[in-house]
């Protein structure tokens, strides 16, 4: 029987060595995002993060407020209707502290696919008529078989770490996601290291699907953190809804110092 891969949140956060690191966060918008992990990362000051996600919200906003985000590769950064704009992200970008590497969500997927397939780039059938390729410096590929269509070559993004919040995991690192899976299966395949934060750690036999339908295979996983409530204040399908007051409380903060005080007061160790 393989060894257990359980680790503490502290150990998981320490997988990000100081300096410039590319971090992919699972989930979408405020749903099933590893926010407990994000809160702990936000208390560090020794990181310059490149965040990768199709559509981020609270996660990116918090880390921008913490002042440790060098760049964001995403298709969309903002809350939805109920919570409005990601103002910490916006001010980080508008002040020049953070580079917005704007993508279409599909080209984030192409970036991750390229990394998963061991390629430095992947063509994609998208971005026609858009100013994005020129603004982002994407090159175009000709069809070597004589077709007249051209394709933007999306550069690979290989996350140093992907952190994925799942409802169920076993000790070996098999993760099962209930509800929308977003780009998490792909992130796990693209990243150098993978950590699962899990609502519940259960015996392999007690996972909600047979092993041949597991979403994140243990082969790819470095660590499993038992993190009940680990997606709060966002939602987690089948477990809890979003906590609007807690989201608004963080939206209302206005400095990294305030954020760290707030997070410490919330009970997370510094």
């Amino acid at each position: 029987m393989a060894a257990s891969k359980t680790m503490t949140m502290t150990e998981a956060v320490s997988l990000l060595a100081p300096g410039s690191r590319t971090l992919a966060l699972g989930g979408n918008s405020i749903h099933r995002v590893p926010h407990a992990f994000v809160h702990r990362v936000a208390q560090r000051t020794d990181l310059r993060l490149h965040l990768v996600k199709t559509a981020g919200a609270y996660d990116i906003d918090v880390l921008c407020l913490a002042g440790i985000v060098e760049a964001v590769s995403a298709g969309f950064v903002g809350y939805e209707t109920e919570f409005g704009l990601a103002r910490h992200y916006r001010s980080a970008v508008e002040s020049g502290r953070t580079e917005a590497r704007e993508h279409a969500c599909y080209t984030v997927i192409a970036s991750l696919r390229a990394a998963a397939y061991g390629l430095p780039f992947l063509p994609v059938r998208a971005l026609y008529n858009s100013d994005l390729p020129r603004a982002r410096g994407f090159e175009w590929l000709d069809d070597p078989y004589g077709g007249t269509e051209r394709f933007p070559a999306i550069p690979a993004i290989r996350p140093d770490l992907a952190v994925i919040h799942v409802q169920h995991a076993d000790l070996h690192g098999n993760g099962v996601i209930t509800g929308p899976k977003n780009e998490d299966l792909l992130m796990a395949r693209a990243a150098r290291h993978v950590v699962l934060t899990a609502e519940e750690i259960v015996d392999t036999d007690a996972l909600p699907v047979p092993l041949d339908h597991v979403d994140i295979p243990s082969v790819l996983v470095d660590g499993v953190v038992h993190a009940p409530g680990g997606a709060r204040p966002g939602s987690c399908a089948g477990s809890y809804d979003a906590d609007a007051d807690a989201i608004r409380a963080v939206q209302a903060l206005s400095s990294a110092a305030e954020l760290r005080d707030y997070l410490t007061a919330q009970g997370g160790p510094a």
Binding site: N28, S29, I30, H31, R32, T54, A55, A74, G75, F76, V77, G78, E80, T81, E82, L85, A86, Y89, R90, V93, E94, G96, A100, E102, H103, A104, C105, Y106, T107, I109, V124, R125, A126, L127, Y128, N129, S130, D131, L132, A135, T178, G179, P180, K181, N182, E183, L186, S235, A237, G238, A242
Partner: protein, 248 residues
């Protein structure tokens, strides 16, 4: 009208209902339709179209839901609620690939700015590298708009700052056909947006006044038929919580 929606001001109800109904009517001949996050009006419009105007319409959403049961829509349109009663599971990645294969029929996308040529901007106001205002980004639009057969843009405001002669930045362009606003419907004709119709609560003059370029009218332009009794009843049935009002 449900308890939840009783407090919504009448003028918002009229505008949101008219927009949702008109967006549903536009779907009458679509084979499939997709919406992403932050899209309460499209979610309601698709549910209404499936109830009234086009029961065969295949409904795909960002959460992976397929033909989800109406009645459980939430304000967050990428929440797990968007799998409730789903007939299957078809992920966002699958939808993008489907679209790249040329098989996505109708997509709903927002546009912070929309210009005369039907181009949309969700990226920046000001220079891309040093934006004056960083907008949230186009989400899927730069991939979907050029490849879908037909894109419907909706906006909950119609003003000269957002419906403009030329976008500061083109996030996406290609298949935009209609732009639905609180005042009516603009439609692409001969390469430019023209007035296709105006709601009963609005007028052609009002649209012209609030549009940032001298806008022409389509040959068949005219007042849009107000929501019928049946349409309004179905609207309340598919959206009892009044999710459609949340964008206003």
């Amino acid at each position: 009208m449900s308890t939840e929606t009783r407090d919504v001001p009448r003028e918002i109800r009229i505008v949101a209902d008219a927009m949702a109904v008109e967006m549903a009517r536009i779907l009458a001949n679509s084979r499939n339709a997709f919406h992403g996050l932050a899209s309460p009006l499209p979610a309601v419009a698709i549910a209404l179209a499936r109830s009234v105007h086009n029961p065969q319409l295949e409904y795909l959403n960002i959460a992976g839901g397929v033909n989800i049961a109406p009645g459980s829509l939430t304000v967050s349109t990428c929440s797990p609620a968007f799998l409730a009663g789903s007939e299957s599971f078809f992920s966002l990645t699958d939808i993008f690939d489907l679209c790249a294969r040329g098989e996505l029929d109708t997509a709903f996308l927002g546009g912070v700015q929309v210009d005369r040529r039907g181009h949309i901007n969700n990226s920046v106001i000001g220079p891309f590298a040093t934006p004056k205002v960083k907008l949230p980004g186009g989400a899927g639009s730069a991939a979907i708009v050029p490849m879908a057969r037909h894109t419907i843009v909706w906006r909950t405001r119609h003003d000269a700052r957002s419906i403009v002669e030329r976008c500061d930045f083109v996030t996406a362009a290609g298949s935009v056909r209609e732009v639905v606003t609180p005042l009516g419907v603009l439609r692409m004709e001969e390469g430019e947006l023209r007035v296709a119709g105006w709601f009963a609560h609005a007028s052609l003059e009002e649209i012209r006044e609030h549009t940032g370029f001298p806008i022409r009218t389509c040959d068949d332009a005219g007042p849009i038929a107000p929501p019928g009794e049946g349409e309004l009843a179905a609207l309340d049935a598919v959206d009892p919580q009044g999710v459609r009002y949340s964008e206003f």
